[in-house]
């Protein structure tokens, strides 16, 4: 894809913003700050989706991640007492050797990925040149047929419709399995978060019956 004029500015601004905010998410000591940086990173990625012409995904990114998930994150962080880490007493990194090894490996991975994708991108572009051109012409043809929105400038895309179509045809099975996944996540989190009292009330027994499990002896050696 060749960027033109303001698109280039748009791209560089939001991609640098996404990377910086992502870095700050990891590096911020305060958990609330981390979450806020993550929000700005996600918004930047959403802006990049618009540049790609994927308006629906951009909208979902903002609505679901920023609007839903991150607000819940913030609630949890504020409700749960984040102690020592926030005051900056606990060291973030364990041992220099581990940090060095992790850095070396991630550097290797980044270099390899960048090299491979750079090279592969050219190859893919050459291989699929005809198909890409075809897609571009059909797409512009379709776009010219679309209805214009109320502002009279932008056109109403049918992307949402095609996403919905594929969600209920091609991707119907993974879609349903994902619902099972969510059910398991809910059941699991409720089960793990219940206190002894709540558990006893739910099972309608004396809390003696559930009681404290026998103390575990930890006779283990670490390898």
């Amino acid at each position: 894809m060749i960027l033109s004029g303001w698109e280039t500015v748009f791209f560089w601004f939001f991609s640098i913003a996404a990377i910086l905010a992502g870095l700050l998410t990891v590096m911020a000591r305060n958990a609330v700050h981390s979450a806020l940086f993550l929000i700005s990173s996600l918004v930047s990625v959403g802006a990049l989706f618009i540049l790609l012409g994927a308006e629906f995904i951009a909208g979902v990114q903002i609505l679901v991640y920023v609007g839903g998930v991150m607000v819940l994150f913030l609630f949890v962080i504020m409700l749960v007492n984040v102690g020592a880490e926030e005051e900056g007493r606990a060291p973030i990194f364990n041992r220099p050797a581990q940090v060095a090894a992790a850095l070396i490996f991630s550097l290797l991975l980044v270099v390899a990925l960048l090299a491979a994708i750079n090279k592969g991108y050219v190859g893919l572009r050459d291989r699929d040149a005809a198909a890409l051109k075809q897609t571009e012409t059909t797409r512009s043809e379709q776009e010219s047929k679309m209805q214009t929105g109320a502002t009279g400038v932008s056109r109403i895309t049918t992307q949402t419709e095609s996403v919905g179509m594929s969600l209920f045809t091609n991707a119907s099975l993974p879609f349903e399995i994902a619902s099972l996944l969510l059910l398991v996540a809910i059941v699991g989190s409720v089960m793990l978060a219940r206190t002894l009292k709540q558990e006893a009330a739910a099972d309608d027994v004396d809390s003696e019956v559930l009681g404290q499990a026998p103390p575990a002896e930890t006779g283990t050696d670490n390898i």
């Binding site: 592969g120 291989r127 119907s172 993974p174 059941v187 002896e217």
Partner: protein
Amino acid sequence: MLFLFQTSAISVRDLQLIAPELILTVVACVALVMEVILPYKLSKWTAYFSLTGIGLALISLGAQFVNMGGTFNLRALQSLSAMDGFYGMIRIDGFALVFKAIFLIAAALAIAIAMRFLDIEREQHGEYYALILFATVGMMFLGSGYDLIALYIALELMAVTFYVLVAFTKRQKRSNEAGMKYFLLGAFSSGILIYGMSLLYGVTGSTNLGDIGRGVATITANSPMRPMLLLGMIALAAGLFFKIAAVPFHMWAPDAYEGAPTSVTAFLSTGSKAASFALYARIFFVALAPMQIDWAPLLGIVAAITIVVGNWAAITQENSKRLLAYSSISNAGYLLLGVIANNAYGNIGLVIYLLVYTLMNMGAFGVIISLRRRGIIGDNVDDMTGLAQKAPGMAAMMAVFMLSLGGMPGTGGFIGKWYLLYGLFARADADHKNWYYWLAGWAIINLVVSFFYYLRFIRVMYLGDRVADDQPLTMSPALRTALVAALVGILFVGVYPQPFIVLAQKLFPAQTNSNPVRQPSSIIDESPK
């Protein structure tokens, strides 16, 4: 609106293809409701209900087998024709049926050995049984999935369920710790896995395994897309190394296995491992089949390291759950040999060894569960001291499980390992490469080492100079049935393996590199309605 007339989104035939999974899902949901309705004392009904559900799923699996042209008269059995469903998302073939049967057996045993155990842990909740069933549903979709999206979601369904199950005895610190460790590393490995999947999708432009296989075949050694493809393959392999606990990605296994409730450990080490190997086989035998020459050395090196590290670390362990964790790591190395071989014998070894491994590990953990009493954890090797005097039957069963894990002739473990190694030799003959022989020799040498720690259990049980304690074992009818079933299965495979070999041969034939052309179906339908 037009699409309503164009397509019937899901047909009844599609639903028939996932009938066993549907049954299990319904049973699991009902089990969740039963947990709320039933009084605490009747919690075990949920377990029996879940077992019934697994039985029904097995029956419907058998019906599928017959529908696809299989017969239970093994002499007349032909190779089954595969059936695609849900727009190519799943493929029901012999491979899927075999693995689904293994998962169902593992789930049934995991429920049977847990019933009494959860009472002792004072964690008798119906959610346990429901979660086991949900994990099984995830595994079964891993067995039948034929598309990266379906496979990934199914993998996550299984993994998320296991994160919860590992932390199930939540009032014990070590269970919590194990759950957290497993969760963090599991999430990390899923990230690596999806990296690989995305690169593969980027190169081939499809998420369907067959399409990917055809796309990969067109990429030559000098193609500019080749580095991307290699990176994708390596990332996929690394993510799966995590899931099967192969060295150097094995660090989570001993901690998670030790901390988890013993019945969950048993399921984790068998069902989850079998499902990960099903995923391995599907991706590497179908999607990456043209790259066999690239991935075989990678898997070979990892298998060699895994076998030796697992074995040598197991020798020094005092805790029997940790010991079995390292044993399961080394067994993952042996199972990888079957993936490397990628021929008819390797496939037989893979299927039979996974089945037998499920039985013997379930059995071994079942014996450890029977040692559990209030106040005594019973998971140290020393807790078995003098078991032969206290409970000769249990000791004999444990001895058989251990000998089978080591690969003693006459037990199922021997047949499995024999075919795994034989597959490797056959591959070496076919490819004229020497390193296959070296790998097989290395595996055989380490087989001898492994006997050392398996025999330790037997020495402690039979030659112990004292009895650890004279309290009776914790037995329940379900646990006893499960142990006997596992024992019978192992001995049957060991003594009369012919039906299993025929079944494995017919249901899981060696994949040929030619992928039949299928109607393409992209995920996002670009054309306007």
